[in-house]
């Protein structure tokens, strides 16, 4: 965290505050002294999120930020991302969890085979496709056939 803070030229005092804050929000304060190599997969994902946000960016690109996380971790990340939204940060995240997109996103784009096939608010997409939720929108638009990722 300090390394990346320094690489982003974050002020030392600010870095300490930001680091402690992020550790607390991601639930890693108690494990801060442990080597990251010994972390579980979910903890590594949370640490990765901290590293991406250590410079307090206005826009953050998050690639499947909650993959391999237990439900508690996932919800703490969701809460944190909602806080960022309140701070008027722009977050662009990719996810395969439709409930995550529904919970967090103002606008959702569905990309299939590299093409954007749908774009709108979760409510708009649900209503346009006359289904119950985003997961059904996704399945309706991309098909039920299992495909190689």
């Amino acid at each position: 965290m300090d390394l990346f803070g320094d690489l982003y030229a974050v002020d030392k005092a600010q870095l300490v505050t930001r680091r402690e804050n992020l550790l607390d929000k991601m639930g890693l304060s108690e494990d801060a002294k442990r080597r990251a190599g010994k972390y579980s997969g979910g903890m590594k994902r949370r640490l990765s999120l901290i590293l991406a946000l250590i410079n307090d960016p206005q826009i953050a690109f998050l690639d499947e930020p909650t993959v391999a996380m237990d439900p508690q971790s996932r919800h703490s990340v969701w809460d944190f991302l909602k806080e960022l939204k309140k701070e008027n940060k722009t977050i662009i995240l990719t996810t395969h969890y439709m409930e995550e997109a529904e919970e967090l996103c103002d606008r959702v784009g569905i990309i299939d085979h590299g093409k954007l096939i749908a774009l709108g608010t979760p409510k708009e997409l649900v209503s346009q496709n006359q289904v119950k939720n985003l997961e059904e929108v996704f399945i309706k638009l991309t098909g039920r056939k299992i495909r190689e990722e």
């Binding site: 990346f4 690489l7 982003y8 030229a9 590293l51 410079n55």
Partner: protein, 385 residues
């Protein structure tokens, strides 16, 4: 236990080995490089006997017998002594201090007279004119101190036509420069090379580190930050120079603790550390080349020996027993010049400003900057920094 599973695992390992060039290197190329380097260093591969450079100051004045010429011809005929003639002792001493020659032989004015007196009455020491040949030896060369005196002594015995059992003749060999030699241990001879030796393993460290950073995604993460390639490389090089400095300090402390006490002042030590720092640049360069060639950190470990071994065997303390062909090969590795400069400073008593030391510094600086440049260029070509 099922044989089918065992067979499948065996096939998998064989395939993995064949598909990983670095592992192949460790299995086949490394032993070849090792055997060659070891053989060249200790076995005199392709060179026969080593050649010793001996300076001669011939003060002999009796030309009627011209025994000095007979001696010089006999020494040349040994094929292991390469004679260099000097007009005066001072010029020869300068050449010795700069490492151009390994010994100086001073033939006294009465050598031929002594030779003649012995030939006239070999059995009557009372009528001999006794003469002493003085020998100055390079204290920094273990081969010089151990090999050259007996060769000259045997040649003197031979030209006198003296039987080996005869206890003496009219001229004696006196080792003039070994006044301080008894204070030099084997450690003294290898210590300069040890300073160089420690730094060489930076190659492996750098190779592993870069490959590791690639493997665990650290390089990708760093590239996302605003860090420029120049900042990144400068930070890396500085960190390894720092490591080299610590290594050199530890080696110095260890050698000092073991009794290495060269009679030099602080500026020479400071210069030695600067040399090691400059040398570390080449090791970072070789490490980057290793990381470029290696697909993984473990592969980098093996590949690094491609650069570690030549530097180790041709340019460090092993150099004391190098064959002449290996000595020539040694001039193509930077470590040779570092060890040579440190030997000149610590053991030959050369000053920092002496031509031999400055020449070594120039060779080290140019080669190291060039190797570092090649390393950075190669790495940047195949992987983004």
């Amino acid at each position: 236990m099922k044989a089918q599973r065992i067979l499948a695992l065996t096939k998998k390992e064989i395939k993995k080995t064949i598909r990983e060039p670095a592992v192949l290197f460790m299995i086949f190329i490394f032993p070849i490089v090792f055997v060659f380097a070891f053989g060249a260093s200790f076995g005199g591969v392709g060179a026969g006997q080593p050649l010793y450079n001996v300076g001669v100051v011939n003060l002999d004045q009796d030309n009627s017998v011209n025994a000095s010429q007979t001696l010089l011809t006999a020494l040349s005929d040994t094929k292991i002594i390469n004679l260099h003639l000097y007009n005066d002792n001072q010029t020869a001493q300068n050449a010795l201090s700069q490492g151009s020659i390994q010994a100086i032989m001073i033939i006294p004015v009465d050598f031929s007279q002594s030779y003649g007196s012995y030939q006239a009455a070999p059995g009557n020491p009372n009528v001999w004119t006794n003469a002493t040949i003085s020998l100055y030896l390079d204290k920094g060369s273990i081969t010089a101190t151990q090999a050259i005196p007996p060769i000259i002594q045997q040649t003197l015995t031979a030209i006198a036509g003296q039987a080996q059992q005869t206890p003496q003749n009219s001229f004696q060999l006196q080792i003039a420069s070994l006044v301080n030699v008894e204070a030099h241990s084997a450690l003294d001879f290898i210590a300069p090379g040890m300073f160089t030796f420690a730094s060489i393993f930076l190659i492996m460290m750098v190779g592993q580190s870069f490959a590791n950073d690639r493997e665990n995604g650290m390089m990708k993460r760093i590239r996302i930050t605003p860090t420029t390639p120049t900042e990144f490389m400068t930070g890396q090089v500085l960190s390894y120079m720092g490591i080299a400095l610590i290594q050199a300090t530890l080696v110095f402390v260890m050698t000092y603790a073991l009794g290495f006490r060269p009679n030099v002042d602080g500026s020479v030590y400071a210069f030695a550390f600067i040399l090691v720092l400059v040398f570390s640049l080449s090791n970072v360069g070789f490490g980057l080349i290793t990381a470029t060639l290696a697909k993984s950190a473990s592969a980098a470990t093996g590949l690094s020996f491609l650069f570690v071994l030549p530097q180790l065997f041709l340019g460090t303390f092993v150099g004391a027993s190098l064959s002449s062909s290996a000595q020539v090969a040694g001039k193509f590795v930077p470590s040779y010049y570092v060890t040579d400069a440190l030997t000149s400073l610590f053991l030959r008593g050369a000053s920092i400003a002496s031509p031999a030391v400055l020449l070594d510094l120039a060779a080290v600086s140019i080669s190291c900057v060039a190797i570092l440049g090649i390393g950075i260029a190669l790495y940047a070509k195949y992987y983004k920094i």
